[in-house]
């Protein structure tokens, strides 16, 4: 991938753009699209074989964290793929936590008891919060595994239990399914919350995400954003106005679109990527319409 993706030249494109307001959030696509699961709705088509977006080497990640700390980053997120497949994920989380509060997004399927204990130790010793966000799309194992693959539910729930037992408070993240009954908005939220309480988790934390027409659902997109649609809307509220993503091949505007040529803003330098972002993808419509953020809150 490296060297083959052009840096986008926003000027002259037919797309509306979002301004660069400030640098708040660094996303690290640490394993690219390398994942142990192959979810049907995966927004960057991650999977176990031949990831189209390669993992990052540890030194690239450390450099990005140092650079972002000097630029006053507010929070750091690790995503993929599955971040816990990266051989150096624990030391990298330690480096990140020394700089800023850090969140890692995981499917929970590759986290052992020993890893959970190490995470708890990291959290206790860090100056800032460590957040573990575990994906679970349904309280029903069968319905969850139809989306995320056989055995995914059991492994995710085991990880949630282990995290709780070690004093960590995982955030359980679910993706809405507009086609499923009770699988959207408050209904899905309530079912997950009740489920966690029944598990014995006394401080349940749930985040609901919309489906994105990207990755494996790329064909579901409708119209793109236009200047007319965005007229009067404060584009500074879009997360790409405050976030940048370090991934294989450069710095990108959005964690959902990392690796796509249209979202690439620089070849690797963070500060160079601080410029307006073209809203060129159907996923930009989802962000605009739902007001969602990939951040925790």
């Amino acid at each position: 991938m490296r060297g083959t993706v052009p840096v986008l030249e926003a000027r002259g494109t037919p797309f509306p753009s979002a301004p660069f307001v400030r640098f708040s959030t660094l996303w690290v696509q640490v394993t690219g699209t390398w994942c142990n699961l192959q979810c049907v709705h995966c927004l960057n088509a991650s999977g176990p074989r031949d990831p189209w977006l390669k993992p990052l080497c540890a030194e690239r990640v450390r450099h990005a964290i140092r650079e972002s700390e000097a630029l006053g980053v507010k929070d750091i997120y690790f995503t993929g793929g599955e971040p816990f497949l990266h051989r150096e994920i624990l030391p990298l989380l330690g480096v990140a936590l020394a700089a800023a509060p850090t969140t890692v997004l995981t499917n929970g399927a590759a986290i052992s008891e020993a890893t959970v204990a190490a995470l708890a130790s990291l959290a206790r010793g860090a100056p800032y919060s460590l957040e573990i966000r575990v994906s679970l799309d349904d309280v029903d194992p069968e319905r969850n595994d139809r989306v995320r693959g056989r055995g995914a539910w059991a492994r995710a729930v085991l990880t949630i239990r282990r995290l709780h037992a070690h004093g960590l408070l995982p955030i359980v993240a679910a993706t809405e399914d507009p086609g499923g009954e009770g699988q959207v908005g408050p209904g899905l939220y309530g079912r997950l919350r009740d489920f966690l309480v029944d598990l014995g988790i006394d401080k349940p934390r749930v985040k609901i995400l919309p489906l994105f027409p990207a990755g494996r659902l790329a064909g579901r997109g409708g119209d793109l954003l236009s200047e007319e649609v965005l007229d009067g809307f404060d584009r500074g509220q879009l997360q790409c106005a405050e976030a940048r993503v370090v991934a294989d091949g450069g710095v990108y505007a959005c964690p959902i679109l990392a690796g796509l040529p249209g979202a690439r803003l620089s070849a690797g330098d963070l500060e160079e990527s601080f410029r307006p972002v073209p809203l060129f993808h159907p996923a930009c419509v989802t962000c605009f319409e739902t007001g969602m953020t990939c951040r925790n809150a």
Binding site: A70, K74, D75, A100, Y128, S129, L169, Y189, K203
Partner: protein, 276 residues
């Protein structure tokens, strides 16, 4: 009381200078705690009392706080709640993304909007968003959420020093005072700058005690930051909330000191300290 605060903000040189100030945020319609706080600050010889915004929300009878702010000569800033009420927005602008938080926020905002007079809404609309004062040798910048965004949450566990250095540099301040999260904290950087989140007096800070807190800052040889606990008649407040038909979850927080709502915005570390 809006005029003195506005004057301080609008006149860059000279700014008002003090040796000791009292600062609080998040009144949340808690007139009983407000009255007790102002009395306490005067007793401790604060030369000026500042409120960093969010007069309404959560509590009963929002119009009861405004006469107290005026009588107490409290210099007030505009919070996100105040801005929303003044401009007739449909929501409080607290920045929640969680359905449960938003459910309770909607109830609270609808009640507060309906029970705040037009005159007081207009007053909220007249308040400044920032205020600079001199405290001894320190240049102090006051704001609601952060100097850059009215509804930005600056929690202790999610505010890195790198961000603070940037805020102090970008806003040319030695001391930044903020609120919005409802939980107090203070950090001094090696360079001598101070970030003080003054907490809120409208509801307890999720520590199992019904008391609330404000900040007292004194310029001696060094800047002294003291958080002062305030006890007030919280049982009466809870009864008033019940009588007004506000959610029982709100009154429970006032009675027990544990947060029952607005939990999802809490980072892991702050959430772990609470009961729910």
């Amino acid at each position: 009381m809006s005029r003195p605060a506005a004057a301080i903000v609008n006149v860059r040189h000279p700014v008002a200078a003090y040796r000791r100030i009292a600062v609080f945020g998040g009144v949340y319609s808690n007139a009983l705690a407000l009255e007790a706080t102002i009395e306490d600050a005067r007793r401790r010889e604060a030369e000026a009392v500042f409120c960093l915004g969010d007069m309404g929300g959560f509590g009963p009878h929002p119009d009861r706080v405004f006469p107290l702010l005026r009588a107490g000569a409290v210099l007030s800033l505009q919070g996100n709640y105040d801005e929303s009420l003044a401009s007739g927005r449909e929501d409080c602008g607290c920045g929640y993304t969680d359905p449960r938080d938003n459910h309770f926020a909607r109830i609270s905002y609808a009640y507060t909007f309906a029970h705040t007079s037009a005159e007081n809404k207009a007053w909220l609309g007249s308040l400044p968003r920032h205020c600079r004062v001199q405290l001894g040798g320190s240049s102090v910048l006051m704001c609601h959420g952060s100097p850059r965004r009215v509804n930005e949450f600056l929690w202790e566990s999610t505010t890195p020093n790198g961000l603070l250095r940037r805020l102090f540099r970008d806003h040319a301040a030695d001391v930044i005072l903020c609120t919005h999260t409802g939980i107090k904290w203070h950090r001094a950087l090696p360079g001598g700058q101070h970030l003080v989140n003054v907490g809120a007096i409208g509801r307890p800070e999720n520590d199992g005690s019904p008391r609330v807190w404000y900040a007292l800052l004194t310029a001696d040889a060094e800047l002294e930051v003291e958080f002062v606990p305030v006890r007030y008649d919280h049982s009466t407040l809870a009864r008033q909330m019940d009588a007004e038909g506000l959610p029982p979850e709100f009154a429970e927080t006032v009675r027990t000191g544990w947060w029952t709502t607005c939990l999802e915005s809490l980072p892991a570390r702050e959430r772990a300290r609470g009961r729910f």
